[in-house]
């Protein structure tokens, strides 16, 4: 049985030999054209004129297109308000306004300077504060309210007020946005896109060009990283390539450079969360009021859902007896911020972790003791602010186990004595936790479908709506199918995701790729197995010889044949002690005219949170974990080193522990990058200046914690998900915040009576300037 085993990633050999094909690796057709994108020169305002008559005459230029060339120039996952090419109203600087179809990238670089863009320049809104002042709101959410918040704040023994501020984050998927669009016969277009959401990409391309959905097929073999950045924002670039293919009737390729990708696409939302917290002498939170503000950027995109998730995670791992959690997103003249691993969760969760760190310093207590005191209980204090009871709560177990295995108490004392020495170095230690709600909070997205084709040699092709971006979803699908049929995993391969096989799919997002698609694969396999059991039963136990001429009775799903099992390449009838090879049974089924394909649909049961009444279940289950990080700060420069991180994650019963551990390390380091070195730097006019790895610093191999221990908690209780596993993609990212709270802890050794007051990311500069404030 391959479920539960750490088999290799199904593309591993291709990846290490360079054979894995990505969109821009596709061989070029002779008549293929390169699509170059030109961005808006202004941050706000409108385009007055785009002059390109001369460019059209230049060697190697086949067409120049602007907004008026797009038949339906609007798209948007939630609200279709975003132009594919902007003109009348500019949302942000470098927003795509013009396409050049030309011979190659060199030609584009040579001719693009001759496109003359005149624009009306308007005063932009850039920051959350400015947008709040201008009342520029994208959306607001119905607050979560519990208890008597005002009374509880008034009567609180201690009260702290403040604002938690965090920056955005560039996805920095290694493969920038890329699409090749091939015009086919009868007005059809085949789009190969680096997209987490082939269905939306298909729909946006078709809508933009005025084609029927059925005329567009979107195929995704794999992505060179996604992280949410290709959930909604692959679609309009695919539409641009589609437009050129449609206009010229030639294959069209659009592959953004890293600089253009960083300037043109949205990022993680910056947040500013105002809070008031009341607590008692022990550090128990008696009241929490949080006003959450997200910077949505220029367009709605996925912001409302991201804002929801921030609110859903503002409780962190902690029970809030009296709370008020309100959320608003502002509209600014920034790239339209979008999904990014965690999807608002990190910004909500980190707020309360920051608050607890402050409370501990204020009360002169250890923050771990406060965290433990406030942690969700098992039998009581176990209901979230959105009325979901936490089932099988493992948080207390995780916190205690990690506290012990990370040697927290002893190291805390070592940190204290180290900091007394005044060596020019300063250390800090902190534990944070995660309780991540699994399910799309938009109910209808919790559905998936799968197609399973069993071939006569006993090998299987599986297709689902899940897209492979490195996270190993295809490998897990393979394991689920192989385990169901009792065949070796090598006998199953995953086919490219394509909207002609799997349509109306949800994005591979919300960590749910395996949950919803794996559920569908299992159902599709079950359906084929029912057929095979039926065939087995008639062929082996009926006493009739089915020679391929006589009809076998039609399948009756009500007959219980569960004693016929699929194990190790064989089909075994436990009751009658008979067996045959899986492969031989397939031939019998085929000769007797039974289908060896399964198509199945899956929806996550029992979900249905009502945002107006706050009734109904928001999440299918929670993925939990905690991390302890120890940091060292150079007091001369503010430079930061992570000395050690210990992580304990609850991933249920993992389908592939090897792949899941890779998700945990990768997500943690990405989260650590967000709160340390990844600083988006903008010019006063709104232009992003840190738009390449020279200036935007994602973690390097040397930035990994010097000691890095990761363990998984054994937990078999999650019957709510496929093969009792738990989703892993996003939750560990939230643990990166333990590095940031450890910085706060370190600073508290020098801050005297002040509360360490830093924003995220805690760059060297932020840290050093904060230290200077204490002198």
């Amino acid at each position: 049985m391959s479920v539960g085993k750490s088999i290799h990633h199904d593309s591993a050999v291709g990846h290490v030999t360079g054979a894995s094909l990505f969109v821009d690796d596709r061989a070029k057709h002779k008549n293929e054209v390169y699509v170059g994108v030109i961005g808006s020169p202004v941050c706000a305002g409108a385009i007055k004129n785009i002059e390109f008559t001369d460019v059209l005459k230049m060697d190697g230029v086949f067409g120049v297109y602007t907004a008026k060339d797009v038949p339906h120039n609007n798209w948007g996952t939630i609200v279709p308000e975003q132009p594919i090419l902007a003109y009348e109203k500019i949302g942000y600087i470098d927003e795509p306004v013009c396409l050049i179809a030309c011979r190659d990238e060199e030609t584009f670089n040579a001719v693009k300077i001759f496109v003359k863009i005149e624009a009306f320049d308007a005063e932009p809104l850039l920051t959350i504060d400015d947008a709040i002042a201008a009342k520029s709101f994208l959306c607001e959410a119905n607050p979560f309210v519990r208890g008597d918040i005002e009374g509880a704040l008034k009567n609180a023994k201690h009260l702290l007020k403040g604002a938690f501020v965090c920056g955005g984050q560039e996805h920095f998927y290694m493969e920038s946005q890329a699409t090749v669009a091939y015009p086919l016969e009868n007005g059809q277009i085949e789009v190969h896109s680096s997209s987490q959401h082939p269905t939306e990409t298909q729909h946006v391309v078709a809508h933009a060009l005025g084609l029927d959905y059925s005329q567009v097929v979107c195929i995704v073999k794999r992505m060179g990283g996604g992280f949410g950045g290709k959930e909604s924002q692959a679609a309009h670039f695919a539409a641009m390539a589609g437009l050129v293919a449609y206009k010229l009737n030639r294959p069209a390729r659009l592959a953004l450079t890293k600089d253009d990708d960083m300037m043109m696409t949205g990022k993680r939302h910056p947040f500013k969360n105002f809070y008031e917290v009341g607590f008692d002498d022990d550090g128990r939170i008696t009241a929490l009021k949080v006003l959450i503000y997200a910077n949505g950027g220029a367009y709605v995109d996925l912001t409302p859902s991201i804002l929801d998730r921030a609110m859903f995670h503002a409780d962190g791992c902690y029970y809030l007896e009296n709370c008020y959690i309100e959320g608003r997103a502002v509209r600014t003249n920034q790239h339209s911020n979008t999904a990014f691993r965690g999807f608002g969760g990190p910004q909500g969760n980190m707020t309360i972790e920051s608050i607890i760190e402050d409370m501990a310093h204020y009360l002169k207590k250890d923050a771990y003791e406060l965290r433990k005191l406030n942690l969700y209980g098992i039998n009581d204090r176990n209901v979230t602010p959105y009325n979901q009871t936490i089932e099988h709560n493992v948080l207390p177990e995780i916190f205690e186990k990690l506290h012990k295995s990370a040697d927290y108490s002893k190291r805390k004392k070592e940190v204290e004595s180290f900091n007394q020495k005044k060596s020019g170095k300063l250390r800090g230690l902190s534990m944070t936790g995660v309780k991540f709600g699994i399910a799309f909070t938009t109910k209808f997205l919790n559905q998936g479908n799968a197609l399973v084709n069993v071939h006569l040699d006993g090998t299987v092709q599986v297709s689902t709506g899940a897209t492979e971006m490195g996270q190993g979803v295809n490998t897990k699908m393979k394991q689920i199918a192989a385990s169901a049929f009792g065949i070796p995993h090598q006998a199953v391969i995953l086919m490219p995701t394509s909207t002609e096989k799997n349509h109306n799919t949800s994005p591979t997002a919300a960590s749910s790729g395996t949950d919803i698609n794996g559920g569908a694969v299992l159902k599709a396999c079950d359906a084929i197995m029912e057929t095979l059991r039926w065939v087995f039963e008639h062929q082996q136990n009926s006493g009739i010889v089915y020679d391929g001429i006589k009809d076998m009775p039609a399948l009756d799903r009500n007959v219980d044949l569960s004693h016929i099992e699929f194990v190790d390449g064989r089909v075994i009838d436990k009751k009658n002690k008979k067996e045959m090879m899986f492969r031989d049974l397939l031939k019998v089924a085929y000769l007797n005219q039974f289908s060896l394909a399964g198509y199945a649909f899956f929806k996550t049961p029992d979900l249905g949170f009502d945002k107006s009444t706050h009734e109904g279940r928001a999440f299918n289950y929670f993925t939990n974990g905690a991390a302890v990080s120890e940091v060292e700060i150079d007091e001369y420069t503010g430079e930061l080193k992570v000395l050690r991180t210990d992580i304990l994650m609850d991933l249920g019963r993992p389908i592939n522990p090897g792949i899941d551990l890779g998700q945990v390390t990768g997500a943690f380091i990405q989260g650590m990058g967000w709160v340390t070195t990844e600083n988006l730097f903008y010019h006063d006019n709104g232009k992003l200046l840190s738009h390449s790895p020279t200036t935007y610093k994602i973690p390097n191999i040397q930035d990994t914690p010097r000691v890095f221990n990761i363990e998984l908690l054994e937990n078999h209780t999650n019957t709510r998900n496929v093969v009792r596993s738990k989703a892993v993609g996003e939750p560990p990212l939230l643990l990166g915040s333990s590095v940031w709270t450890a910085v706060k802890n370190a600073l508290s050794f020098r801050s005297k009576d002040k509360l360490p007051d830093i924003t995220s990311p805690a760059t060297n500069e932020i840290i050093l300037m904060e230290l200077a404030r204490y002198e």
Binding site: A12, V13, H15, G18, G638, T665
Partner: protein, 485 residues
């Protein structure tokens, strides 16, 4: 010998001849577009992510076999690989039709789940194969620290690096087939040597490439056509060209001139030739200038250091160049040659303004002479950047003091990132010379800094931060030196 008018290279087991303007194309683009070797990825096109890493051997090692080094192919124009052997990710394993026998680093990368999305993987595989090549050849053991150092030039956004570090550390060098054995060919190696000693002259309508094999040819060309742009490793120019901010129609590179690739030292000086790479320099100064070697460990990436030259960094004259502060305080001097003769200029007098040099267009920097350390001197080099490794400095600091007992008989202090050039702080130096060392002297000097520098704010740091760090570096230096006296 007759001049050549083409670039000849071997990519995996194919001999490739490049003619015409194609010679300006970066290797990575050539591999992907002309050779269908799409395993090599282009992500940043500026040598900062390592996705385009390939292995290159320009020379043979002491064993007479190809000496492979990892480089960034996205900023390496084809004219810089004349006579070189290239191995791409497709050539690391041993292929036969659709089948590949995996190289040891590939097997371990798979076993340790070192590849997730796969986009950075080919670059990592080449860097890892390069490390295995070197460590097996030199009989060294791969440690966690060395694995991290060799892979500093490769970014990965998926794995958090831990699986990749595990993969590198689990590489069994006994099972590793060396690429220098697989690609060994006596005929090719002698051909390589012939190519490397042949002058290349390529002329197109308005562009030209000149690769002289003798210094006299280079000087002559510079005398008649001073607008030749000199390119060494192309790690800076390659970026500027890729980002469309510069074109280099007339280009001269000196790597075919054997004498400029030498590094030597006597009792007074270490002398480094114009084409000596930073890796070669780093390895050389490990024993001779340990403080410099320490700084070079966090300077750039192995790929960049394998390609870039010390003199390239000096001539590029960036105010945040990492090697210049040290060279300034050690009173290094560049040797400038032209067809008219040769002169030495000490570095203090070499920089006249932002990226402005005390140098005639007809001159070429052929060498740099660095005085060796004296017993009674203390030197420190500091650098701060947004990220510790592979990042451009916000502030650099170098100080060198010669002691006579407790008395400071010679003081040299340089700061980078605080002005248009790296600067020496003459007035502060003067105020310290002849005095007995004390920490308070340096604290006072730190307080007086705003009289001498007024740093600017940019995306790497604010002016306030730069000033504060500059001050703190004085304190840090005094604290460290004080502890040693």
């Amino acid at each position: 010998m007759k001049n050549s008018s083409q670039i000849t290279t071997r990519i995996n087991d194919q001999l490739i001849v490049i003619e015409g303007e194609k010679a300006f194309v970066p290797l990575a683009n050539f591999l992907r577009n002309d050779e269908s070797l799409t395993g090599t990825k282009i992500v940043c096109a500026e040598g900062d992510c390592g996705a385009c890493t390939v292995l290159i051997a320009k020379d043979v090692g002491p064993d007479g076999k190809l000496s492979f080094k990892a480089v960034n192919s996205c900023i390496l124009p084809l004219y810089l690989i004349d006579g070189a052997q290239v191995v791409t990710v497709e050539g690391v394993g041993k292929s036969s039709g659709m089948n590949v026998d995996l190289h040891e680093v590939q097997s371990k990368m798979i076993d340790c789940n070192g590849a997730q999305c796969g986009y950075c993987t080919p670059g990592f595989i080449c860097a890892m194969a390069g490390m295995a090549e070197k460590f097996k050849s030199e009989n060294k053991t791969i440690t966690e620290k060395s694995a991290k150092n060799y892979l500093t030039g490769n970014l990965c956004r998926c794995t958090g690096y831990l699986p990749i570090i595990d993969a590198m550390m689990s590489v069994d060098l006994n099972k590793t087939e060396l690429l220098k054995d697989r690609y060994h060919s006596v005929a090719w190696i002698s051909e390589m040597k012939r190519i490397r000693s042949t002058t290349v002259e390529m002329k197109f309508s308005d562009k030209s490439i000149f690769l002289p094999s003798k210094l006299s040819e280079a000087l002559e060309a510079k005398a008649t056509e001073p607008d030749f742009r000199m390119v060494a490793g192309s790690t800076d120019i390659g970026v500027v060209v890729n980002k469309g901010k510069l074109s280099t129609p007339k280009t001269m590179a000196l790597y075919h001139i054997e004498e400029l690739g030498k590094i030597s030292h006597d009792n007074n000086f270490i002398t480094v030739g114009a084409t000596v790479t930073l890796t070669e320099f780093e390895e050389y100064v490990e024993t001779h200038l340990p403080e410099m070697s320490k700084l070079l460990h966090i300077f750039a990436s192995p790929q960049i250091k394998n390609q870039a030259t010390l003199i390239g960094n000096v001539v590029n004259a960036s105010p945040i160049a990492d090697t210049i502060p040290f060279l300034l305080v050690s009173d290094a001097a560049v040797e400038l040659q032209s067809s008219k003769g040769s002169r030495d200029v000490v570095l203090k007098d070499f920089y006249t303004g932002y990226k402005k040099l005390n140098m005639d267009p007809s001159e070429i920097v052929t060498k740099i002479r660095i005085p060796v350390l004296q017993k009674n001197e203390k030197t420190r080099l500091y650098k701060v950047s947004m990220r510790k490794d592979l990042d451009i400095s916000a502030v650099t600091f170098a100080a060198r003091i010669v002691f006579d007992g407790k008395k400071m008989s010679q003081v040299r202090i340089a700061l980078g990132g605080v002005a248009a050039t790296v600067i020496r702080l003459g007035d502060i130096e003067k105020s310290l010379i002849g005095k007995d060392f004390s920490e308070s002297l340096f604290e006072n000097a730190a307080t007086s800094l705003d009289q001498y520098i007024s740093p600017l704010s940019d995306l790497r740091a604010s002016k306030e931060y730069r000033m504060l760090v500059a001050r703190n570096y004085f304190k840090k230096f005094a604290n460290e030196i004080g502890g040693e006296l």
